[in-house]
């Protein structure tokens, strides 16, 4: 195993810290993210209430603790992004493997479907679908998962074509291995690298999409918090309560930036021209 550069380790550390905070939100959160208090509306960051304690990042228009809501919202973001990436990865890679292995008519149909999907604006498709089937956590995952698979298919298809022409695949055929074994034991491990790079950048995109859809009111439904809906609600108070949009914005920015930088670092690591292969 090659040693990772320090910058990559640092990125990983920040990312893991954010993920850990998100998933332990119910336990580390200083306040109940849903508890309202009209007396404590729009308190600025650092306000202290004798009975409730400190509101580190202030409160929102219903007097809920912003830090608790951001932590809880991060959990929703991570869950949506992970599950939708998983769905699209499975769908996309399966189709790409089949297209790359069978070629001919199967590839023609699948790849034209990919072209079609990629020519429809994803956010528009998502908005329309949610509008039809109704917003919920599950529909969010299905919509994102089932609209974002074509990029995986493209990469999986091209890589499979390349790997399938390698003599070790022919040797495996000569050994008597069936298509399923060849695809799962030989092709998949050898195309995993570029797919992981795509999955990483998609993960960042999914977090942005979830925020976007929630901002539009089509994602996580109130009163459950999400970064998108917090910012959407905070929009009306931008002049009086800047913290409502700035803090979730910083969280979103940091998270997606980390993920994208990590994707680049991974691409460099997986480049066959870099040493050690």
């Amino acid at each position: 195993m090659r040693r990772l550069p320090l910058s990559t380790l640092l990125l990983l550390a920040v990312l893991l810290l954010m993920a850990a905070a998100a998933f332990t939100a119910p336990w580390i959160s200083p306040h109940d993210p849903l508890r309202q208090s009209l007396l404590l509306r729009l308190k600025p960051p650092g306000s202290v209430d004798p009975r409730q304690g400190v509101f580190l990042l202030g409160t929102d228009d219903l007097g809920r603790d912003l830090l608790a809501r951001i932590l809880c919202g991060a959990r929703a973001s991570f869950a949506v992004a992970m599950l939708s990436v998983a769905v699209s990865l499975v769908v996309g890679v399966s189709l790409g493997l089949v297209a790359g292995w069978v070629r001919g008519w199967a590839a023609a149909i699948i790849m034209r479907l990919v072209d079609t999907m990629l020519s429809i604006p994803a956010i528009l498709l998502a908005v329309l679908t949610v509008a039809v089937i109704g917003p919920s956590f599950l529909s969010l995952i299905l919509v994102l998962g089932l609209t974002r698979w074509p990029r995986y298919t493209r990469v999986a298809y091209a890589s499979t074509l390349q790997v399938a022409a390698m003599p070790y695949i022919q040797a495996s055929e000569m050994a008597g291995a069936g298509a399923a074994r060849i695809l799962l034991r030989h092709v998949l491990p050898n195309i995993a690298g570029p797919l992981m790079v795509v999955a990483t950048s998609e993960f960042g995109l999914m977090i942005l999409f979830e925020a976007g859809l929630s901002f539009l009111g089509l994602g996580i439904q109130p009163p459950a918090p999400s970064w998108g809906s917090i910012m959407s609600a905070g929009r009306q108070y931008v002049e009086r309560a800047w913290w409502l949009t700035v803090f979730p914005g910083i969280g979103l920015f940091t998270l997606v930036l980390c993920i994208n930088l990590l994707g680049d670092a991974m691409r460099d690591q997986l480049d066959p021209r870099s040493a050690g292969r």
Partner: protein
């Protein structure tokens, strides 16, 4: 005794979007007896690799027949082909790409046994250890990955994998071309030893005539998708019956300065024509130093001259003393 391999009138044509199909292989026939090694030589683009791929069923021929150990594999269904492949195995040119980089060599060598349900668990590990020993590697190598081995060792691993099923026919496609001289000698010695010990028939595809002469019993020379000559090794090297064979033999630079510089030069005019548009008559006539009128019009018959089978109108003259006329 039935032949280990019978190839009859094999042809592989690749369709081209504009223009006539590329006739990579265009009517090739030969047989290999059990335990015999046949060398298939020729320059790049002559179709020798396509023949080897068709023999193991990795390339579907346009017409013709390939019978391995009594089983016809052209047009065979998937089950027949899978069973036939247990009787033939292939060693590829580049050991760097013929092993899965993400699989241990134990798993690679054992794969044929595992997927055919012939061994598993401890029995499989023992068989793999035995195969590795057979090619001169140690059992503890089984847990390592291909990148931890040198080119020569990787080719040994590839050979071990090919031997796992004890095939009746081994197809070697340029097995030593990617190796350095000192390592090449090791692999050639191993192949000769294994042939003796296991009695496999071998189709040995190579562009290197010295190597082919070293390991083969009979030699077939291909030119532009056809066989030019097929003869026992000694006959072919002592008295080539096809002008192309003769030119090839003289073009091989020998590692002996005095002999090499004393050899007659037979410059072959020009380059190999395109297999999409082979010349009429004898395919070699455009480069042949002996070409005459009939060569341009009439395809030469595949006939016996001495010990050799040859496709040349003037095969009898190839070795006559006057053949290297000055200015020829």
């Amino acid at each position: 005794m039935t032949a280990a391999l019978t190839v009859a009138d094999l042809a592989v044509h690749y369709p081209v979007r504009h223009g006539p199909p590329v006739r990579a292989v265009d009517g090739v026939s030969f047989t290999i007896a059990p335990g015999e090694t046949l060398g298939l030589v020729g320059e790049s683009g002559c179709g020798k690799s396509t023949v080897s791929k068709s023999v193991v069923g990795l390339q579907a021929p346009t017409r013709g027949s390939v019978v391995v150990d009594g089983v016809e594999i052209v047009g065979a269904d998937r089950r027949t082909l899978r069973q036939a492949r247990a009787r033939m195995q292939m060693v590829f040119q580049d050991p760097a790409t013929s092993l899965d980089p993400r699989m241990t060599i134990g798993a690679a060598v054992g794969e044929p046994l595992l997927v055919r349900g012939l061994a598993r668990g401890q029995a499989l590990r023992d068989r793999v250890a035995g195969l590795l020993a057979e090619v001169g590697l140690r059992p503890e190598h089984a847990t390592r990955y291909p990148h931890q081995f040198s080119g020569g060792q990787r080719q040994r691993i590839v050979i071990a994998r090919a031997l796992a099923l004890r095939p009746a026919l081994l197809v070697c496609d340029e097995p030593v071309s990617a190796l350095d001289v000192s390592v090449r000698a090791q692999i050639l010695n191993l192949l000769v030893e294994l042939q003796r010990g296991l009695g496999m028939a071998t189709l040995f595809v190579s562009h290197d005539l010295a190597v082919v002469r070293h390991v083969c019993d009979r030699v077939a020379v291909m030119y532009l998708g056809r066989l030019a000559e097929l003869a026992p090794r000694d006959a072919l090297f002592a008295a080539p019956r096809h002008p192309y064979t003769r030119a090839l033999l003289l073009a091989v630079p020998e590692p002996d300065p005095a002999a090499q510089r004393a050899k007659p030069r037979v410059p072959l005019a020009g380059e190999i024509p395109s297999p999409a548009n082979p010349p009429p008559g004898c395919r070699f006539h455009t480069r042949c130093p002996m070409a005459r009128a009939p060569c341009r019009e009439q395809e030469p018959a595949w006939r016996q001259v001495g010990e050799s089978m040859v496709a040349c109108h003037f095969a009898e003259e190839v070795n006559s003393p006057g053949v290297d006329k000055p200015g020829c």
